[in-house]
């Protein structure tokens, strides 16, 4: 009897456990039913494909970048779920660094269905990703349009497999590039307007202008104090301080090193004369009080909040790192009408030098991209959706233009346009969370849409681009006679070498090799010393102390390994 009781107890425990486990795994499949239902309800009767293909699969995705989560009942997400049968719950980086977040996932051993990480090699090491080669071959059209065979080969890992696909930087048809989606010295148009739209070529010109403006306009109209220059220095975003030296010397964004094409050698920009001049200038401006004293201690959020007040006249940054958030908030607060928008400048150390701040080609960064993990519920469907994102124009338009008649209208020539109200909505964060769903780390196109008329991205639509501009910004474009942002930079038009960008290799260095250890230590040293050099009362002493600390990291190990990689392209 006793034994029976015990077994009964054990059995009931086991059943409870299995019920609980069942709940866990069913959560994924039971939720979509209700989502699908909600979508159908909002959508009226147009949901033909969804009912045909059956249920909606809920996928999860983690992206090692900070971002805004959209609402669970987001309208466009529901429309997409309805038609393509897939809904992706995106979660973003909060608080941690990208590598910490990835490391934590690996240590935990449980992965989302999709992942986009800056530390792909760690995930490969942990065998967390599924090889995509076979899937890619199942969709020959996608394979042939998305990358060339050479480009696909760059994604091949040492074991011969492809594990991720970079979703960015692909141009379809005629290029419609209007933005400078790269790094630059940015300056507010009100400063240029005040100075009568002068030509700014060097760092000296740039800071002279900022100083003059500050002297004449210490405050904004509402009494807020202007701030000449700020530097973002948090974690990996310290590129805003760190790598301007390579650009000022006229080199393109190889990121971690300079490639000297004439003799195919790797050079270190950290120790170069141009970098020293750059830091010296920053040091000088810091001592004069024109550099934000909070520069080196502010977080990214604090930095964005600061830019959004419109009081910062200039900084170095990548367009994608600030422009989307900051421009939207200018639009909301009306600061765009006061000339707070930023335009880029292609500065060099000396006047008359060539510059390569702007990258004209598509930059294929093979170090990262979207991947499907071994925990994925339905890899076939997941990969199909990935392909759909790239290959289905309707889906693409829904993601980046929105719903026709709601977010944009079509004129008689078939060109998409937005009314002021639609533009205002599109920039509103509440509306974005409730309505807009870009799946921004899934494959996407620049350039011209498949209809041959419209741009794939609204900001690249010439009419939209001009109409979206505030009056002061437009005046600035007109004054210089420019129609796109890259014209402000005026970079040399040329094709980069097949090794470009070199940072895509160094990003994947691990501490397994001496070069990787050196790379990690260099990063740490620079995080500490670059701010110190800028703040140093005696620049020369600060610089030489920095150089001592820097050479202790054995940068030559790192440079040597980068040279080995470059040599494979000889």
């Amino acid at each position: 009897m006793k034994l029976k009781k015990v077994t009964a107890l054990l059995l009931s425990f086991a059943m409870m456990a299995s019920v609980l486990a069942g709940c866990g795994s069913q959560a994924g499949t039971s939720a979509p039913a209700s989502d699908g239902g909600a979508a159908t309800a909002t959508d009226g009767g147009s949901s033909d494909t969804a009912s045909a293909s059956g249920e909606v699969t809920d996928f999860t995705m983690f992206i090692t970048m900070p971002g805004s989560e959209i609402n669970d009942d987001n309208e466009i997400a529901s429309l997409i779920a309805d038609k393509w049968g897939v809904k992706v719950k995106e979660t973003w980086l909060t608080g941690q660094t990208a590598s910490e977040a990835t490391g934590t996932l690996i240590a935990g051993g449980e992965y989302p269905d999709f992942i986009d990480s800056d530390e792909m090699n760690l995930l490969i090491d942990a065998e967390a990703l599924i090889p995509l080669d076979d899937y890619i071959d199942q969709y020959p059209e996608f394979r042939d349009t998305w990358f060339t065979p050479e480009e696909w080969d760059k994604f091949r890992q040492p074991d011969g497999h492809i594990y991720w696909i970079n979703p960015f930087g692909n141009t379809m048809g005629e290029t419609k590039q209007t933005t400078h989606n790269d790094e630059a010295f940015w300056i507010q148009v009100r400063v240029l307007e005040w100075a009568g739209y002068p030509k700014i070529e060097t760092m000296d010109d740039y800071f002279k202008l900022l100083e003059d403006y500050m002297a004449a306009n210490p405050t904004m109209d509402d009494g807020t104090e202007n701030m000449a220059y700020t530097i973002l220095c948090e974690d990996w975003r310290y590129f805003c301080l760190e790598n301007a030296g390579q650009f000022l010397a006229g080199y393109p964004n190889d990121g971690s090193v300079i490639v000297n094409k004439s003799n195919m050698t790797i050079e270190d920009y950290n120790t170069s004369e141009d970098t020293k001049l750059y830091l010296k200038k920053l040091n000088e401006e810091y001592q004069k009080g024109f550099v934000d004293p909070e520069s080196f201690t502010q977080t990214y959020d604090e930095y964005i909040a600061k830019l959004s007040t419109g009081r910062v006249l200039g900084m170095v940054d990548q367009w994608w790192d600030f422009a989307y958030t900051v421009n939207d908030s200018f639009k909301q607060s009306g600061l765009d009408l006061k000339g707070c928008n930023y335009v880029p400048l292609g500065l060099t150390t000396k006047p008359g030098m060539e510059n390569r701040w702007h990258t004209y080609d598509d930059t294929v960064n093979q170090a990262s991209g979207i991947a499907i993990t071994t925990d994925c519920k339905d890899p076939d469907k997941a990969f199909k959706f990935l392909v759909d994102c790239a290959m289905d124009q309707e889906l693409h338009d829904l993601r980046f233009w929105g719903v026709q008649g709601v977010d944009y209208d079509v004129d008689a020539d078939g060109l998409y346009y937005r009314t002021d109200e639609q533009r205002q909505n599109w920039a509103d964060t509440t509306y974005q969370a409730a309505h807009r769903c870009q799946y921004s780390y899934f494959p996407q196109w620049h350039g011209t849409s498949r209809d041959g008329k419209n741009a794939n991205k609204p900001e690249e639509q010439p009419s939209e681009f001009m109409n979206d501009m505030s009056a002061p910004l437009k005046a600035c474009f007109d004054a210089y006679g420019y129609t796109t942002y890259p014209q402000f930079i005026g970079s040399v038009v040329e094709t980069n070498g097949p090794w470009f960008p070199m940072y895509s290799y160094s990003n994947n260095f691990t501490t397994e090799t001496p070069g990787g250890v050196a790379w990690a230590k260099m990063g740490e040293t620079k995080h500490e010393w670059l701010p110190k050099v800028v703040m140093a009362p005696d620049f020369e002493k600060g610089w030489s102390d920095y150089m001592d600390a820097y050479s202790a990291c054995k940068p030559e190990d790192f440079i040597g390994e980068m040279q080995d990689i470059l040599d494979t392209f000889k």
Partner: protein
Amino acid sequence: MARNKNEEKKERKITVKELKRQSFLLIVSFVVVVYGIIFYYLPLTGWIMAFENYKPKKGLLGSTFVGLDKFKFLFGDDVFIKVIRNTFAMGVINLVTTTVMAVLFAILLNEIRRSWIKKPIQTISYLPHFLSWIVVTSILHVSLSPTGIVNDLLLRFGIINQAINFFAFPKYFWPIVAFANCWKETGWNAIIYLSAITAIDPALYEAASIDGADRLQKIRYITFPGIKPTFLILLLMNVGNVLNAGFEVQYLLGNGLVQSVSQTIDIYVLKWGISQNDYSLGTAAGLFKSAVSIAIILIANSIAKKYSDQRLF
């Protein structure tokens, strides 16, 4: 000991009966022992990682054994030496300041005679304990920024003539951390001292009053000796925790400029173990920390044994 022997004898006589009688206790203690083994002792097998080049895909047993290589790297790394220094320094500063503040606060609070003042103060004082560090550090970050309230006040009172960016200078970092710890934990830590004080026989105070002792003398000759045992035991327990100088505060308040004084062993473990994927190095650093902590607690215990009758074991 004598009691144990008696029990053993008894048990031998009536084993089954005795077992039955204690069955509930036996089951409960068995559960606790199993819990301890699973959650405290089994994970220790992970220490093997420190001696091999651990790769998640090869597993604990499949990874290559590298002996003391990781420790060599660790102690050859100037950063790690600094990290040890930081951890010790912040641990000791925190221990001293939080303990002193807690004792002082408890005594002061005890001197308040009116309970309608005393109770609210006590409640308010331990509320910060329940705030998470992310909230506390955000408050600190805002109030200590060049445009924050602290600089504003200092400027207005003319104590400084230019705003100080407190987080840009290594010299301010340890005091800020100590201050944050005090602010958050003083009220909470004082609770235990307060209860120790209430346990002191009121007759002692009365007697002292009759003998003409004033307040300070009563504190010195009655309250202090009264809470000494509690104080020593807590000190002993906390000494073992010195190397747990904190992770969140330093992690959240630190930045590139102060990293040479802000990084603790825990941050180092996270940085190399998780971010650089070198689990072995992270484990080695953690192992070192545990070994030192055990050594410290043993030493502190033997000192306590020698000079007073208070000790942990």
